[in-house]
Each structure stands twice: as structure tokens, then as C-alpha cells.
Symmetry: C2
């Protein structure tokens, strides 16, 4: 081609793209209600991966995903990823991973989108205003467990592709999706599956996109790091069965007393982690990080309001963001086996299991964290000279992830945000964990971007989780724009 | 009457009594299966007084008791005892107390029997081998929640009276029963009802009998003391709703951390109560007590076996019995509001409420215990400088009870045990609480005896509660014999 003709051709191409984009946006707007209905059907499935009794629902959920993608004409596979070993020694099948491919043009870039359709536990009596598994539309918000984490984002990706197909427009890039059902409990089995398919399904992947997180404010965001998660069970076992606290109290060393004692050794009142070695392993805060955090749009008062806490752990923005994103933290989630219902029960629980987790960060290593926590708890427990038995298990060991933001993928992301929302995104990190990000990075050696569409106040993992109609629908447009922008990376290189 | 004729008359009377007793025993043996069926019907009602959602079942239970007694021809009253105030400020009606009278011969003694038909919570998934509300007969044991505590003993008393009536035999004493439905949560409302009826229903009562406890070994026992119970809720509230521990961990002081911290200040690893003032208030152990404990039949190895604990809190009989019966103890029962299900949930619970109780003893006072515990927890909490809120509530404040064993009532009890079981009973105390014993003593100024028929291994308040057929049926005979022995007290006085 005559190089002098090129600018004119690009101009025409650009005009065509702008027209196509408007058509796609119109299509999305016309199908809003259909998208909400599909989300309703997906939220109705209690695909709680942490509860083995819900495993049939989870299998059903994966089947629904596969069926939807098959109807769209994608090349769908339901991939077996083996069995899950339960603490009692039994095992049960893991939910299959759904993979799909749309387009296989070797001249195009290939974008691989990761998402999950399993959810955290939820019960109406936990304090939900509405049935968590009946999507409820209130003032432009769609309430339901898994609405924002991660069912709506997964659907937004599917709808983005569907819009191109429905309008008979060529996809600007090849699109692959990997949808799993074990994210909330540590993506059990997915690591091995990615390794196994490195030279097949993942061999032609150029970029990986994950939309399993949220914005920090009303400003759209791109995410370049997540914390890991080491989730522990600490079980103290004493009598062979629960005992009446009147009849037996004063004669046995109670497992609850021991458990409370060792849990109290994990964190100081001000939130400092007391497990030897944990804080020492953390990468120091760089000046550049400090500067970046300082520039981020973040309203401390709004954050206080949102959480309902009148005094946060740190009272300046940089410290708070740093402890949210790049320092480890310990949370004690609860105790299984003790009396947890309303009312009074005078019981000495025989076996109690504390659940707590450590969000770990670069340069902490899960295997080392397991060793540090286990040794620390056993050492504290030994000092008590209790006749009870302690068992410490790390049931999840998900790695943190950190990306370089100076790459074309993030430029594409910024351009897409600019197109849909007419503003620049914040570059943020995520305090939560997307366990598989680190694996994708290690195995494929490709760039990863996290492109959230969840709102900053979606209440992930808590009562009244929701996604707004605005984020769901504009998020679908963002993904459409992003696919187009990624195709430009290729063109820029040509 | 010619005094020389008296011995002959007494001999004849004694022979008549012996014959009558054999008839009554035969009647009981012939109606065993019917007694078991009635117990099955009673256990089937989930009369859990600690759970307000089960209040309709509890009302139904009281109605069943009243109906049974009415059919027997007793003078039955269902006594209103007012309303229960709930922590949220609402109130709901307390279950009515059933009173009944059989016989009103002023020349006879009047025995008043107290019992309760409410039960502790129970769920199959707590680890029951059988449905807790479906009485299950296995190897001579009748498994079910409330079987031993206290439905079978109440029925045994009813059947004892019923046997006399069915055989058209004159009751040797007047019998009154007081059956309540709030014992497991502190006999709410019963104190006031007893006070109010002091000069009416209770005015002619000579002796009070309670069978809401168990034997210490296979040897039958009579009980002369119980511990009290001060049951506390310690609620720590922080964020306005549960938070995702990844997203928010590191930015808020978590209520669970605070709660664990203050709970850890209650008891030392060896079981010593750390709340200032508690231990100082306890009556010192007398030499006589030491001697009495030393003489009691008690097998430490069996106790270890029963509890499944290889090392008890004390390794000699006297210390162990003393800490079971006459020293206070703290038990932490569990935490409401935290994650307590199987599986993993990465939640920061927003509001968590610990449930713990102190079994208090002479000379501790519940009002003082409330003050000591509340002040101690607030003082420990204040040192943490937490932004969260702490609320401490004492929801049960039941007094301990202690009786003099040198009185005719205990002699009658010993004679009845001798007759049925052909051995002397152990004189024991009870680590658990029968809240109303102290009130009966204070208001009526009459002698109280506790005459247990529950086995030493009945599993009260724990999984797989049971009563043996042997204890249920022989217990019924014991009550028949005891009524007869009590009538002898009168004769001895004449």
C-alpha cells in the first residue's frame, strides 16, 4: 500500500468503527431488560462453592453457562478438573470449567476473559433486606448474592460478544472465555487445568482480562494488583461430645477457652499482626507507590459512611489505601461448632473450629505463611498446657498478583474507559483476592489487566450485594469498546 | 387408743402398705410401654424456651400437660405469668405455668413437686445420631431432647399419682404439681408467680420436691445443693453491615478481634476465673465438706471415659467434685453473628455477640456478678481504644441453692431409695442450676429435697440426650415409695 494512502484509509476505518460502535451500543440499550432477566436466572442458582451440600446447584450453574455459550455458536468445552478432598477424607467432583472460543482468525489478537459463577454463602436471616437468591430491582440496583461478584460481569462479557454476533459484525479480536465455579474457595483445580492446557487452549492467547473486582469511587478504575489469601481452620477438640456447662463446668479445660486464647495471639488491638515473620516478609512501600496513592481519588468520609465506622484503622488516605492493598491483614471470620443461634444454650462445645484468613501480599509466600501460622499457634497452644488437641489447616493458599501498568493493554483499557465514560480511570489495586491472576501470569507469560465494572458500594461477600443497572449495562459497552481498542494494539504494531 | 394396741395397729398398717406398694409396682410394670409412648409424644414437641420462634410449640406443650392432668381428675390451673421482654424491646407472652392439686385432706402432709417441660435447643446436624425430637429406643435407652431434662421425671411423678388413682388407692399425702416452661432460660416469671401464690396455692405445702437433675454414678442419689447461673451476652458492634475481608481488611478494627480479646480476659489457661472479685466472694471449703466429698462414690476414670477427656482440670476426687459443685466456673458457649457454617467465608462480621455464663455459688450474688463482669469487660475493652461499641447484658441471673440434709425429708428420701433400689443413696450437689429452688426456699420457708431419677450419663444439654427405661420406670416406683415415706413423717410426729 502506498504509505501516503494510509492516513486516509485509517480515517475511513475509524469512521466505520465509530459507526459500528454506535450500533453495538444501541443494541445493548435495546436489550437491557433481557440482560437483567438472564442475570435473574443466574442469581437464582445458589452456586455456593464453599458448601458441599450446594454442589448440585453449582454443577447446574456450570451447565447453564455452557448452554448459553453453545446457543451463541461458540466452541464450548466442559473441562473436568478432578475431585475435591474434604476435611473428613471423602472427596467429591469439582465443578467443570467452561471454556469457549469465538473466532479463530490468526491475524487477530486473542483476548482471554476469566470469570467465575460460584458465590459466597448467603442467608436471608444474615440480615438481607431481600431474598439473596431472588434478584430484586430497587432504585436502579439489582440486589442478589453473586450479582456483582461475579455473575453480572461474566454476563456483560458474554453480552458484549453476543452483540457483535447478533449484528453480524466481525469480532475485532478472537475471544476466549474461561468460566470456573470454585473461585470463592480458592479456585481449586484451576491451576492444574491452566497448566495442562498451556500449549493448547492458552497457546494463542495474547491478553488476559479479569473483571472480578470493583471501582474505588464513582470513577471507573483499572486494577493492577490483588492481595492473596491464606485461609486457615484452627480446630480445638476436647471432650468426645458437647457437655452441659452446669454439670461439667469446672472439671474440663474447655476447647472454646483454648481457641479464644490462641486466636487472641494473632492480632494486636490496633490491628498489628503478631505472628512472627509475617510483617518482616512484606515489600517496603516505595516513594513512587506513596505518590500514586496520594493522587488517587478517594474520599475518606465517604468510606467511613459506607462502612458505618466512625474511626478507621488509619486516618490518612495513603496509609489506609496501603493497608487495604499492599499490607497483609488478619480477619477472624467465625467459629464452627460453638453455639451460634439466638437465645441461650448452656453448652460446653466439644470441638470448635475457628476460621480466619490472612490477605498476603508481595513478597509473602503462602507455603511460608502456612508454616509461620501453624508454628505460632502450636507454640501459643503448647504454653497453655491444655489436654485438648489443636489442628491447624490452611485450606486456601491463593497468591497475590501485581502487574506493570506501562503496557499497551492498560493503554487500551484507558482508551475504552475514556470512550464509554468520557473520563480517565483510576489505577488501583484490590484488597481482595483473584487467586488465579498469579497463575495466569506465571503460566502464560502474557499481560493481564483487571477491568472492573462493579460499583464501589456493591457489598461483595456481605448482606445486600448488588450491582447497579448502570454499571451492568455501561460495563457491557465498556467491554465492547475494549475489544475494539485491543484490536488497535495489533494495528499500531503493524 | 390404748397405747399397747398401737404397735399391733402399726404392724397391720405396715403390712397393708407393703401390699399396696406391691400392687402399685405391678401397675407400673404393666404400663411401661404406655409411659414410653407418652414420653414420645412429649419429646415430639420442640418446646425450646430459648428460641422465641418456638414459642407456639411451648404453649402447645403446656396445654398438653394441663390436659393430661385434667383427664386424671386433678384440679388444674393454667396460670398467666406475664410477658417476656426481648432484647429488641418487643415482648411476647410467657408460657403459662400449670398447677394441679390431687387430694386436699388437711390431716395429710402436702407435697409439692416442681418440674419443667421446656428444653434446650437441639438440631440433628449438631451431631445427634437420631432425630432429637423423635424419641428413639436403643438398647434400653430412650434418646431425645428433653427426655431426661426434664420430661421423663415430670411424667414419672404424674404416673406415680396416676397409679394410686387407677388402683383406687388413697394417696398417702396430698400432691401438688407446679410445671413450668421457662426453666432452661432462667424460669422467667416463676419467681413472681410463687410470691403471688404464697398465701394461696403454696400456703398448705409442707415439702417441696424437685427431680430436675441426675445421679453421680450408678448409685441413686439425693441432691442438697445446686449452683446458680449468670448468663451474659457481650455484643461488639462496628461496621453497619458485614464486610468483605479482602476489600476492607486492614481499614477497620474488626469487632471479632475485639470480642476475642475481651473473652480472653475471663479465664486463665488452667481454668482460673480472672474477673476481679469473683473468686473472693466464694464460701471457703469446710473440713466437713472435704470429708463428705471424700466419702462419695465417684470413679475418676469413668468420668474421664464419659467425657472423653484424658486429663481433667483436677486430678483428685475432692478437688474435682468441689469445682463441679461449690466453686464457680466460666464457660464460653459461642458467638452469634459470626460465620459458623461449614466451609469458608471471607467476611468481617459487623456485629458479634458472645454468649458465656458463670455458674455461681454461695456466697456470690447475681447482681454483684453482673456488676463485676460488666465493669471488667468494659475496662478491658476501654484499654483496646477500639472505635467499636461494647454492650454487656446479663440475660439470666439464677441463684444457687443449698439445703440442710439433717431433716426428715431427706430421711424419707433415703428410705424410699432403700426400698426401691435396696441401697443407700449418695448425698450430692449439682453443678447445674435449678433456678427456682432458692426462690421456693425463700418464699415458702419449707424444706426442699432434690430426688433425681436421671442417669449419670444422660447427656443433658448435649447431643444424644437420653433417659434409660430402667431409670424412667424404677424412678416412677421411687416416687410412689417416697410419697408413702413422706406420709410416715407425719405419723412419726403424731
Amino acid at each position: 500500500m502506498n504509505p501516503q494512502v494510509l492516513p486516509a484509509v485509517l480515517l475511513v476505518l475509524s469512521a466505520v468503527q465509530a459507526f459500528q460502535y454506535q450500533e453495538l451500543v444501541r443494541y445493548v440499550d435495546e436489550h437491557k431488560e433481557e440482560y437483567v432477566e438472564t442475570l435473574r436466572n443466574w442469581v437464582a442458582v445458589e452456586s455456593d462453592s464453599s458448601n458441599v451440600q450446594k454442589r448440585p446447584d453449582l454443577h447446574h450453574m456450570m451447565g447453564m453457562v455452557a448452554q448459553k455459550l453453545q446457543l451463541m455458536g461458540g466452541t464450548v468445552k466442559l473441562v473436568d478438573i478432578g475431585e475435591q478432598e474434604l476435611p473428613d477424607g471423602q472427596s467429591l467432583p469439582l465443578p467443570q470449567v467452561v471454556t469457549v472460543q469465538f473466532g479463530r482468525d490468526p491475524s487477530k489478537q486473542t483476548v482471554c476473559v476469566y470469570g467465575h459463577v460460584d458465590v459466597q454463602p448467603a442467608k436471608l436471616e444474615d440480615g438481607w433486606a431481600t431474598d439473596p437468591f431472588n434478584l430484586t430491582d430497587l432504585n436502579g440496583n439489582l440486589y442478589g448474592r453473586g450479582a456483582s461478584d461475579n455473575k453480572a460481569p461474566v454476563l456483560a462479557w458474554i453480552h458484549a460478544v453476543e452483540a457483535y454476533l447478533a449484528l453480524n459484525m466481525e469480532l475485532p479480536v478472537n475471544v476466549k472465555l474461561v468460566i470456573e465455579g470454585m473461585e470463592e474457595t480458592g479456585s481449586n483445580g484451576l491451576d492444574a487445568m491452566i497448566m495442562a492446557q498451556r500449549d493448547t487452549f492458552f497457546s494463542d492467547v495474547d491478553y488476559i482480562v479479569i473483571s472480578d473486582c470493583g471501582w474505588l469511587s464513582r470513577r471507573p478504575a483499572l486494577t493492577y494488583g490483588t492481595r492473596g489469601n491464606c485461609y486457615f481452620f484452627a480446630e480445638v477438640e476436647g471432650p468426645k461430645q458437647d457437655l452441659h456447662s452446669g454439670v461439667y463446668g469446672g472439671t474440663v479445660i474447655e476447647p472454646m477457652t483454648d481457641l479464644i486464647g490462641i486466636l487472641d495471639s494473632l492480632i494486636s488491638p490496633s490491628g498489628k499482626i503478631l505472628i512472627p515473620g509475617i510483617r518482616e516478609a512484606v515489600a517496603p512501600l516505595s516513594d513512587e507507590e506513596w505518590k500514586r496513592y496520594q493522587d488517587i481519588e478517594f474520599d475518606m468520609d465517604h468510606y467511613k459512611n459506607k462502612t458505618g465506622v466512625h474511626q478507621l484503622m488509619y486516618n490518612n488516605k495513603v496509609d489506609l489505601l496501603a493497608h487495604m492493598w499492599r499490607y497483609p491483614t488478619v480477619s477472624i471470620h467465625g467459629i464452627e461448632g460453638a453455639f451460634s443461634d439466638p437465645g441461650t444454650k448452656t453448652v460446653i462445645p466439644a470441638k470448635v473450629t475457628a476460621k480466619f484468613s490472612i490477605r498476603q501480599v508481595p513478597d509473602m509466600d503462602p507455603a511460608m505463611v502456612r508454616k509461620q501460622v501453624t508454628e505460632h499457634l502450636h507454640s501459643v497452644f503448647a504454653k497453655r498446657k491444655s489436654p485438648n488437641k489443636l489442628k491447624v489447616t490452611m485450606v486456601i493458599g491463593a497468591k497475590p498478583w501485581l502487574s506493570d501498568t506501562q503496557n499497551p493493554l492498560f493503554e487500551a483499557g484507558k482508551a475504552a474507559v475514556k470512550r464509554v465514560f468520557n473520563m480517565d480511570p483510576d489505577l488501583i489495586r484490590e484488597g481482595g483476592t483473584i487467586p488465579i491472576a498469579k497463575t495466569f501470569q506465571d503460566v502464560t507469560q502474557k499481560s493481564i489487566i483487571m477491568m472492573p465494572i462493579g460499583g464501589f458500594d456493591d457489598g461483595l461477600h456481605s448482606q445486600n450485594e448488588k450491582i447497579s443497572r448502570y454499571n451492568y449495562i455501561e460495563g457491557t459497552k465498556l467491554f465492547i469498546a475494549f475489544l475494539n481498542e485491543v484490536s488497535q494494539i495489533r494495528k499500531a504494531r503493524v
